[in-house]
């Protein structure tokens, strides 16, 4: 399916990368850097109140302005990058791990097991992330964990579908049949021949799903169903900015632009990876 992924050196591969890959990658590097920097340095403590500078525009002392409590928006947007990445990466990781395992095994085994498993997986399509989060928030108190699980579960079916179709294609591929004919154990065939072949579509989808996960995390925090209010997150910042729109646009503009940049980053990176790893999928 995508032998290029393994046979050509990383350097040669990168030389073929298009602008989508580089722009998307650069945006994600910036977001990751922001999250990392926030652990060691922010201009102000992100939750430090200062009522003498409420709702100010950009200035030398507050480059991106301040919110209604006089908290520094730059500091908060830097720290906010953490929740975005944390929830997004864990949610997509959950979906990737669970979905592709279920899909690979189901497609490999085939028959009525496959039918039954995929029918169950498809039920998850009826519960998009927001709906799943409503359900989980009703059971457990809303928070980072329920948001992450909800986004993850809602993303499972797409990975299961992709992995399953790879397994179906690869099951009858010559090199896999050869492996089986030579007496390799099923587990070994799956791990050594099927998984690598299924990898690139899954990696591409992971990047695209991350863009959706970032949007979902922001929406859930905005609804009060995600990151708790005392932790700065971009969705929380927008939720709080809502009441002060008429007084200052900056508390709403800054986190919103950060979300747009991150979502765009993941989706461009996904497109770039697709062009790079699997030109036929274009």
């Amino acid at each position: 399916m995508s032998t290029t992924w393994r046979s050509s050196s990383a350097g040669r591969l990168l030389r073929r990368a298009g602008p989508s890959f580089w722009i998307g990658g650069a945006l994600i590097v910036v977001v990751v850097a922001a999250a990392l920097v926030s652990f060691v340095w922010t201009p102000y403590p992100p939750n430090a109140l200062d009522f003498s500078v409420q709702l100010q525009g950009p200035s030398w002392s507050h480059p991106l302005g301040t919110d209604h409590f006089g908290r520094d928006l730059l500091s908060r947007v830097l720290v906010g990058a953490r929740s975005t990445l944390y929830v997004g990466v864990l949610a997509v990781g959950l979906a990737l791990g669970l979905g592709s395992t279920v899909g690979l095994v189901s497609g490999w085994v085939g028959g009525w097991v496959d039918d039954a498993v995929m029918r169950l997986v498809d039920v998850l399509y009826a519960f998009p992330a927001i709906l799943m989060a409503l359900l989980l928030a009703a059971v457990y108190r809303p928070g980072t964990f329920t948001a992450m699980t909800a986004i993850g579960l809602a993303t499972v079916p797409i990975f299961a579908r992709i992995a399953r179709s790879s397994a179906l294609t690869l099951r009858s591929a010559p090199h896999v049949e050869a492996g089986r004919a030579l007496g390799a154990r099923p587990r070994e065939v799956l791990l050594r021949h099927v998984v690598p072949g299924a990898l690139s579509p899954l990696v591409i989808q992971a990047s695209l799903s991350l863009s959706v996960a970032v949007l979902a995390e922001a929406a859930l925090s905005f609804l009060g169903l995600g990151t708790p209010p005392d932790v700065p997150s971009w969705g929380n910042m927008l939720r709080e900015a809502q009441g002060f729109l008429a007084m200052s646009p900056y508390p709403a503009l800054v986190p919103g632009l950060a979300i747009v940049a991150t979502v765009l980053g993941w989706s461009l990176l996904g497109d770039g990876l697709r062009d790079l790893l699997d030109p036929r999928l274009r």
Binding site: R119, L120, D122, V123, Y125, A126, F127, P128, I130, L131, L134, L135, L136, A137, A138, V139, Y140, P142, S211, L215, A218, A219, F222, L223, G224, L225, L238, A241, Q242, L245, A246, P249, A252, G256, I259, V260, A261, V263, L264, S267, L268, D271
Partner: protein
Amino acid sequence: MLLYLVRRALTAVVSVVLASLVVFSALLAIPGDPAEIILGLDASPEARTALRDQLGLNRPAPVRYLTWVAGALRGDLGESIVYQRPVRALIADRLGVSVPLALGAALIAGLIALPLGLLAALRRGTWVDPVVTSVAQLGAAVPSFWLGLLFVLLFAVELGWLPAGGFSPWARDPVASMRSLVLPMLALGLGQAAVMTRMTRSSMIEALAQDYVRTARAKGLPPARVTFGHALRNALVTLVTILGLSLTNVFIGSIVIEQVFALPGLGQLALTAIGTRDLPLVQGEILLYATTIIVLSFLVDASYALLDPRIRYEA
């Protein structure tokens, strides 16, 4: 075709049953005594017992599930604990906001995305395609609730053209009701339009690359006929899927948009129900959302069979 439709309908029914099981069993998993959680620790034991009776918590779970489903089939979703009214009536009250909002947003998305996606596909290789594609990619990265906030800032706060939020009942002043839905519809619809444009473009490009399109061109048919008679007709099946998907997206997206514009719709009802732990209401609402999504996807598949004879015969 009938066989196909019947089989697909049965699948949908199975999905709804499974979805109802998911909703029911998830709420079973609530740690601790729901009556205590709802009423708080200092409620009297009598009040707790009464609530347990009302919720039917004294009966075994399978019995409760069957009672709930049997009720749901008759359109009875139980009684809300907080509002002390039937869940069905509460939901019905909110449909007047949520349904027009979702339909309006989907309409806006379709009216923008279909022509733009077509245009980009037909003008491939010129400047039009990359411009449309880039704008769509950027647009798809903008959260609709943030766009909603920006619209409030521009059209309500700065220009004062439209209300920033709230809703008056249709019966009182239909024009005012419509005016309060314009910005939410636009915010929801534009975001969806971006997603739809990309999908329309790629399905049209795929249709234009088919052999029968080349044949039609080769035998000298006018370009317009090739585009609309051959390519578009065949892309229609995919476009219906895209439309169905968009309806699902805006329906779920309206939960978030309602919060931006303080609209008393289904989403607001669900969030309040979660905040107050109104379990019958939460259960009923989530079942309604999931069922709607399953029904929409059934309708999409059913329309396939009508649009594409190949699918009809395969089944």
